[in-house]
């Protein structure tokens, strides 16, 4: 359940998106990854999620190297994610979106669905039930049969998180879940994130620009700037860190804050 990032670098052509980033994520923590636009946060998520291979460095989960495994095996390593630009299955229903999240748990072959075997019926029923329960928990219960693309933006965000949760992965990577949400919705999101950790015992790695959300939920922060880790620590320390203020607001503000 412990995730370690060791000296990870990523170069795209001439662009150094990440250079020698290391940190480790404690189990059951809410861990924030912040930094200005283009800092390399999403790139790091993609590396953890197996979309990219790091140019150098390694990703370890419970002492196991992940960097050479293809992305669809990340679920077996207990890592699930959401995307910065929501990626639902837009033509499937809300419920179907969730049931796809149970892909690795379902066992019935296609042929069993043709003959409607009792095993298949039981499996489908329990999958639907589990999905409905989870959707109820996250306030999407009466949206079950709607086509995903018809949901309002805020609910799409929640649905995507729910879909990642249903995989039962211990580590959830959330890429800017509060982006585009209004105040009410992001307050709800904060509650959900806390609940996911407190009640469900998951580890959350959160990329977020909304400092309100970050400071409310994160217990530990890593700050990236131009692909370099410039600070790490508790939110209250980070808020005072001169380098971080400089990265976000420019040198002038950093000097003012320091003096």
């Amino acid at each position: 359940m412990s995730l370690k990032i060791n000296d990870v670098s990523k170069v795209f052509g001439g662009v150094v998106a990440l250079s020698d980033v290391s940190f480790s994520v404690e189990p059951r923590s809410i861990f924030g990854l912040i930094g200005p636009n283009g800092a390399g946060k999403t790139t790091l998520f993609n590396i953890i999620a197996g979309v990219f291979k790091p140019t150098r460095g390694s990703i370890m989960m419970d002492g196991r190297h992940l960097e050479n495994e293809p992305n669809y095996l990340r679920i077996d390593r207990s890592i699930a994610r959401t995307f910065q630009n929501i990626r639902l299955f837009p033509n499937l229903t809300v419920l179907q979106n969730i049931v796809v999240g149970m892909h690795n748990k379902l066992r019935c072959a296609m042929i069993e669905s043709l003959f409607r075997t009792s095993r298949w019926r039981a499996e489908e029923a329990s999958a639907r039930e589990r999905a409905s329960e989870l959707l109820d928990t996250f306030g999407l219960g009466d949206r079950k049969d709607d086509i995903a693309r018809s949901l309002p933006y805020g609910e799409q965000r929640i649905l995507e998180i729910t879909r990642a949760l249903v995989t039962d992965s211990n580590v959830l990577l959330l890429d800017e879940p509060a982006a585009g949400l209004n105040n009410v919705e992001s307050a709800r999101l904060v509650d959900f994130i806390r609940m996911i950790r407190n009640k469900m015992g998951r580890t959350i790695l959160l990329v977020e620009h909304d400092m309100n959300v970050v400071m409310k939920v994160c217990e530990h922060l890593v700050v990236l700037d131009h692909g370099v880790k410039i600070a790490e620590g508790e939110p209250c320390e980070i808020q005072k860190n001169k380098q971080v203020i400089e990265a976000y607001l420019g040198r002038k503000f950093a000097d003012e804050a320091g003096s």
Binding site: F83, L92, S113, L114
Partner: protein
């Protein structure tokens, strides 16, 4: 929104009616010509329905479906003539051949998208035809005459009416498989790959496996249509399986409703049936059909029964290209 749901329950109600109508039709249709057209529609239904597994369910463009049809027809015909197999075992073997060819085509096709995939699959259809034209076993352009009819315990399917029942039973079976598939782990995985490959992979769906097997299944049912066709007409030759057929099958699927179950069959009725019914209007019928196609695509881009967002799918092909360039999100490109 709730429309997909409405369609599903409507389909549950209409399916038995459709089956009954089909079963009763031969008793009301006197002339063999109409039955002949209905058999053709049954075969095109199988073809459009099976193409739908590849395109509508999995989101892979394929313009070579007549290739699988030809493989099914030739394999079945040759097994019956050369090895004296019964139609039933020949059909099963030809379906297996269709599956294998689908997988073989799916392997290289998997890495391609949009226009490139169209070209590769189009090439596949042509290659099959060229092989059929040049091989010795297939007797080249002369084709294979005298293909035996299906027989079961002394009963021979040699009448138009018996072939009608056999072909429609096969078409309904294909529809059944497609319909049930959507509620299986397998079918949902196909649709998730269609809607978003990267998201599907992030949930543990092995895109390669599903794309390849979608081609396999599509090829398998198209081969069944081929085996039926060969025995029905008793004669096949390379120029039966043209690119224009692949394109026609594609249009049936799009017109009826991509990703739906009844859509491809409706498309087969319209595009294989109407031209025959309207034969007296000669050339005008083709113009009328062309217009129908254009009007429908403007007002119902998802197809007549479609709820799946075809326009979105086209946009997505474009978006994916941008994705690949800007974000490097090509899942297989894990370098």
């Amino acid at each position: 929104m709730t429309r997909a749901h409405g369609f599903a329950s409507a389909a549950r109600f209409r399916a038995p009616v459709f089956v009954l109508l089909l079963a009763a039709a031969p008793f009301f249709i006197g002339n063999d010509y109409m039955l002949h057209v209905l058999v053709l529609i049954a075969l095109y239904s199988i073809l459009a329905e099976s193409l739908n597994v590849i395109v509508g369910f999995t989101g892979q463009f394929s313009l070579g479906h007549a290739g699988f049809w030809a493989i099914g027809a030739y394999v079945s015909a040759l097994l019956m003539i050369r090895l004296g197999m019964s139609f039933w075992s020949a059909a099963v073997v030809s379906m297996a051949a269709g599956y294998v060819m689908g997988v073989l085509l799916g392997l290289p096709a998997m890495r391609l998208k949009g226009d490139y995939l169209c070209i590769v699959t189009l090439g596949f259809g042509e290659i099959v035809r060229i092989f059929a034209t040049n091989l010795e076993v297939t007797r080249g352009p002369m084709g294979i005459p005298g293909i035996p009819m299906p027989e079961i315990g002394g009963f021979s399917f040699d009448s138009e009416r018996s072939m009608y029942y056999l072909c429609w039973a096969s078409a309904l079976a294909t529809m059944y498989v497609a319909a049930k598939m959507r509620h299986s782990r397998f079918g949902r995985a196909l649709m998730s790959v269609r809607d978003d490959e990267l998201a599907a992979a992030s949930l543990g769906v092995n895109m390669t496996y599903y794309k390849v097997h979608a081609f396999g299944l599509g090829g398998m049912f198209a081969a069944l249509a081929g085996a039926l066709y060969a025995s029905w007409t008793t004669f096949i030759s390379p120029d039966v399986f043209q690119f224009s057929d692949s394109a026609n099958i594609f249009c049936m699927m799009i017109l009826g409703g991509l990703g739906t179950i009844a859509g491809p069959v409706l498309g087969a009725f319209l595009l294989a049936g109407l031209p025959e019914v309207l034969r007296q209007f000669a050339e005008f019928r083709l113009i009328a059909l062309g217009l129908l196609m254009i009007i429908l695509m403007i007002y119902r881009p998802g197809g007549i029964l479609g709820s799946y967002d075809t326009v979105g799918a086209v946009k997505k092909v474009r978006r994916r290209k941008i994705d690949r360039e800007v974000q490097g999100t090509n899942v297989t490109q894990n370098k």
